[in-house]
């Protein structure tokens, strides 16, 4: 669950991190009103992807009239597939220096990593690649959290690399202690996999202000943040209920399915991400093009299977579906019932190839056979079969 910039900033502000004054505008008129209130502002497109500045999604304006005009232009844009539904109008900062400060999941260390750099701003990813020593890292004990002395150490390491900051390193290190602790606690309390401030601006008067923010919440923990998700849903979907994402993926998400839309014509369903990825590989190896990735997960019951088939077939490009089931926690008979029910109720006429093995495979195969669907055992054979069947229609 990715928050938009303004949503992330609202979380920062609530936690006590300073952000520039700003107003959200969903129309050019609202942007004009915001500029009238705030004066000189930056009008910033609210989209859940990076690179909006380079795409023309940010404009600095001096008058309310300009704000209206630029907001109108930006609200008509589509950035990397995301239509702009709102702009954040924000007062400018008197920037003395830009830092980077972020918390993100480090898989290798099995912990969150805190990163701080004196080289903040748009090029931080390039800095990470070319001058990794410019980014100081800390892996706090998950129960203790980052201690003040650890953050000071991190700050001294990061800031010593920036000669321009030499005269204020001590003051900055002190000021960063509460800010970094707040950011880390916020990340943990929101179950964030990423929570970053970039740039973290040092203003001419020496204050630390979060000029941009990124916040992504762990999907497994969304049940603990229903309020946030509900608020997001309103904002992300706007009035017409659609988002900038692929419409099939939006629909899949609504249905609670793990689905990725691809370009081909062979629908693919399986239980378990690895198996589905391999199913895609097998279809490709057999000369076909997968239309999607759809993992019904472990322990999926009949209704989930029906839901999945309905989803895959909603893509008109799909010419047939390969269902690859190796029962572990998933039980063959349950899946079989779902397939049969879906075929009958949805009136599916396109080819279905079902490969079924594993837990309760006998029961499952028997059900399929009774319903007139021939179950396969080998995934390789089944993949060849579905590719052949879908090619026949060409």
């Amino acid at each position: 669950m990715k928050l938009l910039e303004y949503q992330a900033k609202q979380q920062f502000a609530k936690a006590g991190i300073t952000i520039p004054a700003g107003r959200l505008a969903r129309t050019a008129e609202e942007a004009e009103a915001a500029a009238r209130e705030l004066g000189r502002v930056a009008v910033k497109a609210q989209v859940p992807v990076g690179g909006r500045g380079k795409a023309g999604g940010i404009a600095v304006v001096d008058t309310p009239e300009q704000a209206r005009a630029e907001a109108g232009r930006i609200l008509a844009m589509d950035i990397k597939g995301y239509p702009v539904r709102s702009v954040w109008c924000e007062t400018g900062l008197d920037v003395a220096h830009e830092l980077y400060c972020g918390v993100t999941l480090d898989r290798d260390r099995r912990r969150m990593v805190l990163m701080l750099s004196g080289a903040g701003g748009m090029d931080i990813e390039q800095v990470a690649e070319t001058r990794p020593e410019m980014i100081a890292k800390l892996w706090p004990d998950p129960f203790r959290g980052p201690q003040a002395y650890e953050i000071r150490q991190l700050a001294f390491t990061a800031l010593r690399a920036v000669p321009a900051l030499a005269d204020r390193t001590g003051r900055l290190a002190s000021a960063l202690v509460p800010l970094v602790q707040t950011l880390y606690r916020l990340a943990v309390s929101l179950d964030a996999v990423t929570c970053e401030i970039n740039p973290l601006v040092i203003t001419a008067s020496g204050d630390l202000v979060a000029a941009d923010g990124k916040l992504e919440v762990d999907e497994n923990a969304e049940y603990r943040h229903r309020d946030l998700a509900a608020e997001l849903a309103v904002d992300a979907l706007g009035d017409d209920g659609a988002s900038g994402d692929d419409p099939f993926e939006v629909e899949a998400k609504r249905r609670g399915l793990t689905y990725v839309h691809l370009d081909g014509d062979v629908g693919c369903i399986g239980n378990g991400a690895g198996l589905v990825m391999n199913t895609l590989d097998l279809v490709k190896a057999a000369g076909g093009e997968p239309a999607n990735f759809l993992d019904i997960g472990g322990g999926a019951r009949a209704d989930v299977v029906r839901n999945a088939l309905d989803m895959v077939l909603s893509d008109p490009k799909v010419r047939g579906v390969f269902i690859n089931i190796f029962g572990g926690i998933t039980r063959g008979d349950e899946v079989a019932r779902g397939i049969i029910q879906a075929r009958d109720e949805l009136g599916i006429t396109k080819p279905l190839v079902v490969r079924m093995t594993g837990t309760r495979e006998e029961e499952g195969r028997e059900l399929l056979r009774e319903a007139g669907i021939v179950p396969g055992v080998s995934a390789v054979d089944a993949a060849r079969q579905i590719v052949e069947l879908t090619r026949q229609g060409e």
Binding site: D108, V193, N220, Y223, T258, G274, L275, G328, T359
Partner: protein, 294 residues
């Protein structure tokens, strides 16, 4: 011989009375696993599937000498169940729960690291020592005893590989599904280290997938001198970069974690790569010799 579990393993099931807990406990019993206890808070004193149920893991361990915890509880309770098993000093905990919040697992992993407990999972199919014991839900009939160790991130691919090996006559020692979550217990390197010490294991099949760098870490370990042949398979080759493929871990980040980077690292380290599961089975055959008769 085997690793982690065998016919003497005494299993306590945390969440034994749930729908999934009941079903898979029965499957495990059918496989021959010695399930000695269940734990369900508030159900202490009851009997379920022929085994005594306790309020706490600690009670179960004291009463039954359980030495392996099978954790099959809903996601919000998984980390707590893992910590409870660790606090009771259960040597092995196997958590199959899918969808555990990553911050929960970060904390649970820190507890595990400070304990004497080994953790397999979460979000994994568990493990199986062929013909002796299974903890988790690797299907009962796919494995057969033999000389090949299997370690895999993906659950269902684990089954595919085991089935492929068995059908070709190459039995297994132990198959371990480590799970695909970003924060988990045993990793490829941990399991490879265990197989190294197991005399019965003559070759190891390793099933990786895109995301993370555990396969790369395994490559380093192999490159440092691994005494047994390793045949590897990496799934997700056709995955488009940046697309999320269901496993939270299966996100391609930076320039590591791609299928190609893993294949390159493993090849350079001296492992052989199978392009398909059939390939894997053939390559194993070339290394462990003719299949043992059926």
């Amino acid at each position: 011989m085997s690793i982690l579990i065998d016919r003497s393993t005494r299993v306590v099931v945390q969440g034994i009375t749930g729908r999934e807990g009941s079903f898979h406990t029965e499957q495990m019993q059918a496989y021959g696993t010695n399930v000695v206890a269940g734990v369900v808070p508030g159900r202490g004193g009851a009997t379920h599937l022929g085994v005594p149920v306790f309020d706490t893991v600690s009670d179960a361990v004291v009463a039954t000498g359980a030495d392996c915890a099978f954790i099959i509880v809903p996601p919000p309770f998984a980390a707590d169940a893992i910590m409870e098993a660790a606090a009771a000093s259960v040597p092995l905990a196997v958590c199959v729960t899918e969808g555990v919040p990553v911050h929960d697992m970060i904390r649970a992993r820190a507890v595990i690291d400070a304990s004497s407990t080994r953790l397999v999972g979460p979000n994994c199919p568990g493990l199986l020592t062929a013909g002796e014991c299974k903890v988790g839900f690797i299907p009962n009939h796919v494995a057969r005893p033999g000389k090949v160790g299997v370690v895999a991130r993906s659950g269902t691919l684990t089954y595919e590989v085991i089935q492929g090996l068995s059908q070709a006559g190459h039995g297994q020692t132990t198959a371990v599904g480590i799970g695909g979550d970003p924060v988990l217990g045993l990793t490829f390197t941990d399991v490879l280290d265990l197989f190294r010490e197991d005399d019965a294991t003559r070759a190891v099949v390793m099933v990786g997938e895109i995301g993370g760098s555990d396969e790369e870490a395994a490559a380093e370990l192999i490159a440092a001198g691994y005494p047994k042949p390793v045949v590897a398979f990496i799934s997700g080759r056709t995955a488009p970069p940046g697309k999320r493929m269901g496993h939270a871990g299966a996100i391609i980040s930076g320039n590591t974690g791609t299928a190609q980077s893993k294949i390159d690292a493993l090849t350079a380290a001296g492992a052989v790569i199978g392009d398909t599961i059939e390939d894997v089975v053939r390559l194993v055959g070339e290394r462990v010799g003719a299949p043992s008769g059926r």
